[in-house]
C-alpha cells in the first residue's frame, strides 16, 4: 500500500476502531480471543482497503469486512451447536455480571442471549443495535431487505423465548 493510502486507512481505522471492538465482544468469550479477532479483522481490513473505492462510507465498508471476518473465524472455531442452552446462558450471565456488577439482571441476560445466537443472527442484531436501518443491514450482509426483516422478527422471537422461557 502506498504511504498516502496507508495513512488514510490508519486515520479512518483509528476513528472507527470501536466498531471492530464491539463485533469482537459479540463473537468471542474472553479477552485473549477478543484480541486475536481484533488483530485478524485489522489485517483483513488492511488487505481489503486498496479495493475500497469509497462508494460507501468507510464505516459501512468496515462493518461489512469486519462482520465477514468475524463470521468466518467463528465458523472456523465453531464447536458449539446452534441450539439455545438455557443453563449455558445463565452461566454466561453470571460471567457478564462479574464483568460489570452494576448492570441490571435483564441487560446481562439479554447480552448472554445475544451471544448464544448463531453467527448470522448475531450480525443482524449487532447492526440493529448500531441503529442501522433495514436498507443498510441488507446491504452490509448481502441479503434482501425483506429477508432482513423476516430474519429480524425471528431473532426477536428467539430472544424473547430465551429471556422468558
Amino acid at each position: 500500500m502506498e504511504k498516502k493510502l496507508e495513512h488514510i486507512f490508519l486515520t479512518e481505522f483509528e476513528q472507527h476502531q470501536n466498531i471492530v471492538h464491539k463485533i469482537c465482544s459479540l463473537y468471542t468469550h474472553d479477552r485473549a480471543s477478543h484480541h486475536d479477532l481484533f488483530q485478524e479483522v485489522s489485517i483483513q481490513l488492511w488487505k481489503a482497503f486498496p479495493k475500497f473505492r469509497g462508494d460507501s462510507k468507510f464505516s459501512t465498508w468496515m462493518y461489512r469486512v469486519a462482520l465477514n471476518t468475524a463470521i468466518t473465524q467463528y465458523r472456523k472455531n465453531k464447536k458449539r451447536t446452534d441450539t439455545y442452552d438455557i443453563e449455558n446462558v445463565l452461566f454466561k450471565t453470571q460471567a457478564y455480571e462479574a464483568y460489570d456488577p452494576n448492570e441490571e439482571q435483564q441487560l446481562s441476560l439479554m447480552y448472554a442471549a445475544i451471544k448464544e445466537l448463531n453467527d448470522i443472527d448475531k450480525a443482524l442484531i449487532f447492526l440493529y443495535l448500531e441503529d442501522k436501518n433495514y436498507e443498510e443491514i441488507s446491504m452490509t450482509l448481502g441479503i434482501s431487505e425483506v429477508n432482513a426483516r423476516v430474519k429480524m422478527n425471528r431473532i426477536k422471537k428467539k430472544l424473547k423465548k430465551i429471556i422468558h422461557p
Binding site: Q39, L129, L159
Partner: protein
C-alpha cells in the same frame, strides 16, 4: 420488544469502554504476524543448538576420545568444533537480530525486505549444518577405514581381492551413499521443522507485496 430496546440504549452507552489504539499501535498490530513467526525461528534455532550441544556433551567419554585419538582425528575434530560453534553462535545472533528488526519495522516495504533476509538466513543455516555433518561423517569414515579397529581387515581384504582399485571405489561409493542417506534425513527434518514456518512467512510476504503494488 422492550428488553432489546433497553439493551440497545445500554449498548450505545458503552461506546467509550473499549480500548483505544492509536495509529502506530494499529499498524504494529497488522505487522505483528510476521514477527511472531520470526520469533519462533529464533527460539527453534536456540533449542536446536542446545539439543545438539547436550547430545555431544552427554555422549562424550574417554572411549570416544580414545577412538578419535586412534583415528588421528582429534585435532581435526577440535578445529571443526570451534568453527562449528562459532558459526552457530553467529547464526543465533543473526536470528535474534532478524527477530528484533522485524518487530520494530516501520513500513510494509521494509518488512518485505526483512522477511526475504530471514528466509536467506534460514537457508544458509540449514546448508551450513548439512555441510558440517557431511564433513564430519566423511572424516569419520576415512579415520575408521585407515586407523579403526577393523582397518587391518579391510586392507587385507583389499589386497586379497586382486582388483584393489575396484575395491576402494566400492568402499568409497558405499560410504558416500551412507553419508548421502543420513544427510537426506537431516535435510528432510529441516524441511519439516523450518518449512512450515517459512511457508507461513512466504504467504505473509506475498500478501504484503500485493498491498505494496
Amino acid at each position: 420488544m422492550k428488553e432489546l430496546d433497553k439493551f440497545k440504549e445500554d449498548w450505545k452507552s458503552r461506546e467509550g469502554n473499549y480500548p483505544k489504539l492509536d495509529k502506530d499501535a494499529l499498524y504494529q498490530l497488522i505487522l505483528k504476524r510476521s514477527s511472531s513467526i520470526v520469533k519462533w525461528l529464533f527460539y527453534i534455532s536456540i533449542a536446536e543448538f542446545v539439543f545438539w550441544t547436550s547430545i555431544s556433551v552427554l555422549t562424550h567419554d574417554n572411549k570416544t576420545d580414545q577412538l578419535i585419538e586412534q583415528m588421528h582425528l582429534s585435532i581435526f575434530i577440535k578445529v571443526l568444533s570451534v568453527i562449528n560453534y562459532a558459526v552457530l553462535i553467529y547464526f543465533i545472533t543473526l536470528f535474534y537480530r532478524n527477530y528484533k528488526r522485524v518487530t520494530f519495522t516501520a513500513s510494509s516495504k521494509e518488512l518485505i525486505e526483512r522477511i526475504l533476509k530471514v528466509k536467506r538466513t534460514v537457508t544458509q543455516y540449514v546448508w551450513f549444518n548439512l555441510f558440517i555433518l557431511g564433513i564430519s561423517l566423511l572424516a569419520g569414515f576415512f579415520g575408521l577405514i585407515h586407523y579403526g579397529p577393523e582397518s587391518e581387515k579391510i586392507f587385507n581384504m583389499a589386497a586379497e581381492n586382486g582388483n584393489s582399485i575396484g575395491f576402494w571405489v566400492l568402499i568409497t561409493v558405499i560410504c558416500l551413499l551412507f553419508i548421502g542417506v543420513i544427510l537426506f534425513f537431516l535435510w528432510g527434518f529441516y524441511r519439516i521443522l523450518y518449512g512450515i514456518l517459512l511457508k507461513k512467512l512466504k504467504n505473509n510476504h506475498r500478501e504484503l507485496q500485493r498491498l505494496e503494488h
